[in-house]
């Protein structure tokens, strides 16, 4: 197990180095750079001034030198300066991370809390009216775009309650924040819950047909014990995998949700930074997301061994 963990950690390091190169190069392949954008709000481009700014920002140096400077800074904990705000990148990024993290966590909790039990229910009541209703519910979750659902929620709130659940200022208390984040989390978690529900259902149906389930029933185990102790425990493995993948993909959904609900999180900020070619923000943020994704995958692999004793990470 120990050797496996060390091997995985080394592989993660290689992956992250590869990611850093990819992020750095791809960002610079996109047409236009920050100097074009700085001038855009002035409605013209002055080539001489543009060169001067490029020199000031180090953009006139060879790309390899720029990469080494970035990685060197990263090692020292120096993320550089944001091009647009001219503030340290870390000051721009750090306050936004908790907002998105809370939203993502809430969305994941929402999708798991709804997806898994409803998936089990749908499986054990296969081909009943309840199953059909839940299947329609899950299909709508998969097919409704998050931005549309978000707007619909906002319109409904304004129409019926004369109130709009968007971020106006930093919430006064954690409870107020929770109340504000619940609705966007539900909007973004709806899709994930539908996916989790469908996967739980199909996985459960497969497990419920196994011989050991029949044996459990023959032994006189209660339906609840059969469904939750015997079936769900074995059916949950692919569900955990999909929750892990969803955690990584959630950032895509959050971009739209943060925009619609005006949440000052990191996902919307990332898109904005890409639009502005704010390299220090984009490359550090994408790197941060890459690290999270790599570690979540690692954690899920480790969780397999906990959930299924048959899985052993040994030579």
């Amino acid at each position: 197990m120990g050797a496996y963990i060390v091997r995985r950690l080394l592989l993660m390091l290689v992956t992250l180095i590869g990611m850093s190169i990819l992020i750095f190069v791809m960002l610079r392949l996109v047409p236009g750079n920050i100097t074009d954008i700085i001038f855009d709000s002035a409605g013209f481009v002055n080539p001489a001034q543009k060169k001067k700014i490029e020199r000031q920002l180090g953009l006139d140096q060879p790309i390899a030198v720029q990469y080494v400077n970035w990685i060197g800074g990263l090692m020292r904990g120096d993320l550089g300066y944001a091009y647009v705000s001219e503030k340290p990148a870390i000051e721009e990024i750090v306050p936004r991370i908790p907002v998105t993290a809370k939203l993502a966590a809430l969305a994941l909790i929402f999708s798991t809390l709804f997806g898994v039990p409803l998936g089990v229910l749908s499986a054990v009541r296969q081909n009943t009216w309840l199953d059909y209703v839940l299947r329609v519910f899950s299909l709508s979750g998969l097919s409704l775009p998050a931005f549309w659902l978000g707007l619909l929620i906002l319109m409904a709130c304004v129409h019926w309650f004369g109130w709009i659940p968007i971020y106006r200022s930093t919430p006064d208390s954690p409870w107020q924040e929770l109340a504000l984040l619940c609705i966007p989390a539900a909007a973004v978690g709806f899709r994930s819950s539908a996916l989790v529900m469908r996967l739980t259902r199909s996985s459960m149906l497969e497990v419920l047909r196994q011989d050991y389930i029949r044996t459990a029933r023959a032994k006189g185990a209660s339906e609840t014990a059969v469904n939750y102790d015997h079936a769900l425990r074995n059916a949950v493995l692919p569900v955990v995998t999909i929750i892990g993948i969803e955690a990584a993909f959630l950032i895509g959904g959050l971009i739209v949700t943060e925009t619609v609900f005006n949440i000052p999180g990191v996902a919307r900020f990332l898109v904005e930074a890409i639009r502005w070619r704010d390299y220090p923000i984009v490359q550090n943020l994408v790197m941060f997301i890459a690290i999270i994704v790599v570690f979540v995958n690692f954690a899920i692999d480790m969780m397999y061994a906990v959930l299924d004793p048959r899985i052993k990470y040994e030579e």
């Binding site: 236009g32 074009d36 954008i37 709000s41």
Partner: protein
């Protein structure tokens, strides 16, 4: 004559409001909540050419003089003192001396002096080593030879030649006085002014906050404790938030005609005013890109335009057909409709114009079976894309098969400046309703903001000529002559001038929307909340 005209127009616009609004005593206190439409690029007004910066930050500063915030029209007659208590021209009309208000302090407590005025214009004319990173309105000050100071309270602007419009440029929201002792970099991130509101913080993509300047030199002002701007990029969200009462005001000119209908029905208490934005939708044709280097093709394109269809589709017919200058009644310099209709490409008989255009194209070898394929470039924003689609449809009528090329908005100006386009659709805002501002900025050979790099020495000479003319009527005639030449040369055919709405809740008092510029009435020192 000119002042009479301006007065008549101002009265016609303001009268209903004056009659309907009872006089109320201003109340002190409260924070004005306004939404902002996008991420503002910086807090330095001098370095930007966008309402996104000038609207929130104008209250941080003072100008030497200002367009009266309480009068709807910007004209030389509505210019009032600001940091300058008075001003006077010398006999040669080449020296303009401002007497400055005493005992004015910057927000950091340092005294404001004539040196600050000198510094600001030295930066604008590139004479200060700490010059601006971008200087979009450098062309405004091309006639300025130097700024001299006489003690702490007198500054004189020495011009190369007389320029009657010179004072108007000082009155724009784009012309604040900057402090000498603060670097241009700090002015972008943490601006210091003498104005009614102090900058607190700018959270990128989130908010901008200002608080009342308790030591403001205009005693008793401002009335508000502060202004909180919330950035909401999604238009549906921000309009819904205004309808829900979360904001006291919308961002200026953010409300389109369809949205105005929504607000009128969902928030009937809101006060919404539709006004010309002095932002034109215009066709840009690269005269260096073949086959558009042939003026006859450019002429055919101009003849294909059906401006009425544009405005019917885009604004339910509310926008204005116009030449280069904003049309009357709000525009002081625009041509009357009958004169406009006589300009090349402005005929109301569209079918006849298009028949002529087809004849031109046929002469060049094009026909229904052999169309000219072209990419129509525009920014990837709906206000650009929508008219571009209409343009493509109209060009089809004259054997030009356009394909929409949406350009990432952040690289639009870089692409156009490089000349990396054949045909494009652009939006251009003008900050002061004055020929010097509009014509020098957009059509003179040496302007950096002359996007199409149109250059006609005869037109340049006429622009200089009108710039020096002191008689309003004579000057107007020269301006109209320039209009005619620009239309003939298809310098940058103006399709229409937009009308957009700004809305505010009934508790917002003391705000007057300007009718011939969107850049000059955001000081907020007269605004108060009746709560």
């Amino acid at each position: 004559m000119r002042s009479k005209l301006a007065f008549a127009v101002a009265l016609s616009i303001a009268a209903p409001g004056l009659v309907a609004t009872p006089v109320l005593a201003q109340k002190q206190g409260g924070t004005l909540r306004v939404y902002h439409r996008d991420n503002l690029p910086s807090g330095s007004i001098h370095e930007e050419a966008t309402i996104s910066t000038v609207q929130p930050f104008m209250g941080v500063f003072n100008n030497l003089v200002l367009f009266d915030q309480q009068k709807p029209l910007n004209t030389p007659e509505t210019i009032i003192p600001d940091l300058a208590d008075s001003w006077a021209w010398d006999a040669t009309k080449t020296k303009l001396t401002f007497k400055l208000h005493p005992d004015v302090k910057w927000h950091d407590g340092k005294p404001f002096t004539a040196k600050d005025v000198q510094c600001t214009w030295n930066k604008l004319t590139g004479k200060d080593p700490d010059d601006f990173r971008k200087n979009p309105r450098a062309i405004w000050w091309q006639n300025l030879k130097e700024v001299t100071v006489n003690g702490d309270l007198e500054a004189t602007f020495v011009l190369n030649r007389p320029q009657p419009s010179f004072l108007s440029m000082f009155a724009s929201g784009y012309t604040p006085v900057y402090p000498c002792h603060v670097s241009t970099k700090d002015m972008r991130t943490n601006p210091i002014g003498t104005g009614p509101f102090k900058f607190v913080e700018l959270k990128r993509g989130d908010s901008v906050k200002f608080v009342r300047n308790p030591d403001y030199w205009k005693k008793g002002k401002p009335y508000l404790d502060g202004i909180d701007w919330k950035v909401i990029e999604n238009r549906s969200t921000r309009v819904l938030a205004f309808v829900a009462g979360e904001f006291d005001m919308t961002f200026g000119t953010d409300i389109t005609i369809p949205l105005l209908k929504d607000i009128n029905s969902q928030a009937p208490q809101a006060i919404c005013e539709l006004a010309p934005s002095y932002v034109s939708i215009n066709l840009i044709i690269n005269p260096k890109a073949a086959p558009f280097n042939d003026p006859t093709i450019r002429k055919a394109m101009a003849l294909a335009l059906d401006r009425k269809t544009f405005i019917d589709i885009l604004s339910n017919g509310k926008d204005d057909i116009s030449g280069v200058m904003l049309p009357p009644p709000e525009g002081v310099w625009g041509m009357p409709p009958e004169m406009l209709a006589a300009l090349p490409g402005y005929s109301t008989d569209i079918e006849k114009s298009r028949a002529e255009a087809r004849k031109i194209m046929e002469g060049l070898g094009y026909s229904e079976s052999k169309v000219l394929k072209v990419k129509v470039a525009t920014r990837n924003i709906s206000v650009y894309r929508d008219p571009a689609v209409i343009l493509i449809d109209q060009l089809k009528k004259v054997y030009i098969d356009g394909e929409l090329e949406v350009v990432d908005t952040s690289i639009w100006h870089a692409k156009v400046t490089r000349g990396d386009y054949s045909v494009g659709l652009n939006l251009t805002g003008v900050s002061v309703d004055d020929p010097d501002v509009n014509l020098y900025e957009n059509y003179s050979c040496n302007s950096e903001r002359n996007l199409t790099q149109y250059c006609n020495k005869d037109v340049d000479a006429l622009i200089d000529k009108q710039s020096q003319e002191t008689d309003f009527d004579k000057r107007k005639k020269i301006v109209w002559e320039i209009e005619r030449k620009l239309a003939e040369d298809l310098a940058r055919p103006i399709i229409n001038y937009q009308r957009l709405a700004t809305c505010w809740q009934p508790q917002v008092k003391g705000f007057v929307l300007h009718r011939n510029s969107i850049y000059n009435n955001w000081r907020y020192e007269d605004v108060w909340l009746d709560k």
